[in-house]
């Protein structure tokens, strides 16, 4: 687990630093794309993706900076897309809300709540049909479970015994609306449990815990041929959309944030690395290499050109 913990830290540090870089430069108004920040959920994405195989596939939402960075590890295409440049993964056509890396298994991210969930089911259907052994993990917030399409998808995935992980990143809010104002039931995972699937719940900011839970889910799915539902709690540090805090809005108390901040996944994981035998020097070197990667990528993005005007019309069809 020692090297796994280092990898988990590297992934989380990459995510946190990339988003802090967005915060640093966003006011320059060169990244003209609405930012739905991942800050606070780094342990979930790093743990789940870390437990998957490289050729397993993932799908996400408009809040998927973390998912993209965890799955690809790269920042050139990422920042170029944020800056709307031709060197971005979609030549600037997609921006922050529609990240993708099909060659690395990130099939799509959608800004319509819950809409990538059935696509994940189709991808899993194809994988099962092709007997290629790939698993699909689809990430979504708890707001997505308000949508009928979530339940439709859980139902059919269970019926067809598809190799799929439903990963609910539960921050308790759909935009600004708390769970209590939305749910006519008391426990989400208990309701999902009534389907023919495996259900797990964690409330941890330790990526190793998430990693182990995901491993357990994957091995259980392997054994009993049933999809898995993971309800993983976290706290969204920033506003729904944007790079700032929003505790003055009054819909959630800052005290909650401060409680969660004591368990900040990046800080705790850094401390853990010290206790399991990594020197401060080793950690600093890792951080420095990530910092340099991000600096190179933002420079690359800034220097890159915008797409030619004629690019507007390319890519509608293949």
């Amino acid at each position: 687990m020692k090297s796994v913990n280092l990898d988990l830290y590297r992934t989380m540090y990459l995510i946190r630093k990339s988003e802090e870089t967005i915060q640093k430069y966003y006011a320059e108004d060169q990244m003209k794309t609405p930012m739905h920040m991942s800050m606070g959920e780094e342990a979930i994405v790093s743990g789940v993706v870390g437990a998957l195989n490289l050729d397993d596939q993932v799908l996400g939402t408009y809040r998927s900076h973390a998912l993209y960075l965890a799955k690809t590890g790269e920042t050139d295409l990422f920042f170029a897309e944020m800056y709307g440049k031709v060197t971005g993964m979609a030549q600037g056509k997609s921006g922050s809300m529609h990240l993708s890396a099909p060659e690395k298994g990130l099939l799509c991210c959608s800004a319509i709540v819950a809409s990538s969930i059935p696509i994940a089911m189709g991808a899993a259907y194809a994988n099962k049909y092709q007997k290629n052994g790939k698993r699909v993990a689809v990430f979504f917030g708890d707001g997505a479970t308000d949508e009928g399409v979530f339940w439709e998808t859980v139902n059919f995935s269970c019926l067809k015994k598809l190799p799929i992980l439903f990963v609910c990143e539960d921050n308790g809010f759909a935009v600004h609306t708390p769970r209590e104002h939305r749910h006519g039931f008391s426990s989400l995972h208990k309701v999902v449990s009534s389907f023919d699937c495996n259900v797990f719940e964690e409330k941890s900011t330790d990526p190793e815990v998430i990693y182990r839970t995901t491993q357990k889910a994957l091995s259980t799915m392997e054994q009993n041929d049933k999809p898995c539902f993971l309800r993983l709690h976290y706290y969204r540090y920033l506003e729904h959309v944007g790079i700032n805090e929003d505790f003055d809005a009054g819909y959630r108390p800052k005290g909650d944030y401060l409680d969660w901040l004591k368990l900040d996944p990046i800080r705790l994981q850094r401390e853990k690395l010290g206790t399991i035998g990594f020197s401060e020097q080793q950690i600093l070197e890792l951080e420095q290499s990530v910092d340099e990667q991000i600096a190179r990528s933002t420079e690359f993005a800034a220097e890159s050109a915008f797409a030619d005007a004629c690019e507007l019309h390319t890519g509608v069809f293949i």
């Binding site: 529609h98 993708s100 990538s116 189709g122 259907y125 194809a126 049909y129 059919f156 509608v316």
Partner: protein
């Protein structure tokens, strides 16, 4: 050449493609049941098994997402809706996900998804079993929309749709299912985006879609007996439209009527009229006229339904107005209705 029905042509196209390519599969509500989507999915389950021909829950939204996910992972799904009205439940996936997937991923991955939807009509289908709305789907960039009219087009365009690496929606009029026509036994493609001259003529151009081609042919036959030589163009593909075939025809005749199997307002007929006005402006001898459904929900009772749908008589009357000719006596003509439905050959 061998004569088969439109329905059998659809069935044969799917069977031949499923034999050719193991990535093709067919699914939807009722697809493998004993009614087999009016017979169009007959033998698929028996020939190809339950993994490639399966029933679904009543869940159009998620089942469309399933098609998209399977398509981007290497399969070629065919999703069937027994009514277009039910397809509307899939609008989020179609308008927000399926249509923009390729564009949003930088043009790197296509979506080879076929969606078949049947346009109902007659015997009390009413306002939730009778929509076509092909223009609504054609409005969305990233979707191809086709309305095959003949058995030959049904087979050839279905095969092209399955082989296309982009999403294609097929709108099949229920009354066309009984139509028979000459269809080659071997596999063949009819390219998408190419219209067809159904009947050559020199006096006026009638652009007709789907079932309205049947009405237009009858109208043309009546008009011919009265000295008017109408040309009928079936665009076959709504998006992308074969503009040139229409422009060429109207440039010769100077007159254009669009008979669309849909509502008129904001519909496909408006698109054709605008395009013709733009590209044939100096050659038009009369304003482009449009024919389509009444601007109401479709009523159930027969006598009201007959008012809702245009037919050959509507087309004849419009031709008379456009060309300024005397009213033709239609009292002895027998027009198509549900009781006297068209059985072909086309």
């Amino acid at each position: 050449m061998r004569m088969i029905t439109y329905c059998d042509a659809l069935n044969e196209a799917m069977i031949q493609e499923m034999e050719r390519d193991s990535n093709v599969f067919v699914y939807g509500i009722g697809v493998p049941d004993h009614k087999k989507i009016f017979g169009s999915t007959a033998d698929l389950l028996e020939k190809f098994g339950a993994e490639r021909c399966f029933d679904t829950p009543i869940a159009e939204d998620s089942m469309t997402g399933l098609g998209l996910g399977a398509a981007i992972n290497g399969l070629r799904p065919i999703h069937i809706h027994i009514r277009v009205d039910f397809l509307l439940l899939a609008m989020n996936q179609l308008a927000n996900l399926v249509s923009s997937y390729c564009y949003g991923i930088g043009g790197k991955v296509g979506v080879p998804l076929v969606i078949r939807a049947i346009v109902g009509r007659g015997w009390g289908q009413g306002y939730q079993h009778s929509k076509s709305m092909h223009a609504t789907f054609a409005h969305i960039p990233g979707l191809k929309v086709i309305c095959p009219t003949t058995p030959e087009d049904a087979k050839g365009m279905m095969i092209s749709a399955i082989r296309d690496n982009n999403p294609v929606l097929i709108f099949e009029h229920r009354w066309l299912y009984w139509q028979t026509g000459a269809v080659a036994e071997e596999s063949f493609e009819i390219p998408l985006g190419k219209g067809k001259i159904v009947k050559k003529g020199k006096d006026i151009t009638i652009v007709a879609t789907s079932w309205m081609n049947v009405e237009a042919l009858q109208a043309a036959e009546i008009l011919a007996r009265n000295g008017i030589d109408a040309e009928i163009i079936d665009p076959r593909t709504i998006a992308p439209l074969d503009e040139d075939i229409i422009v060429e025809s109207v440039s010769r005749t100077g007159h254009c009527i669009v008979a669309d199997n849909d509502w008129v307002y904001c519909g496909f007929s408006a698109e054709v009229a605008a395009m013709v006005s733009d590209r044939c402006f100096g050659k038009l001898k009369s304003p482009v006229k449009r024919i389509g459904f009444a601007h109401t929900p479709c009523p159930t009772a027969r006598h009201l339904e007959n008012q809702f749908y245009p037919n050959a008589e509507t087309i004849v009357r419009q031709v008379e107005n456009t060309l300024g000719i005397d009213k033709i006596d239609l009292s002895n003509e027998l027009f198509y209705s549900h009781e006297n439905r068209f059985k072909g050959p086309f």
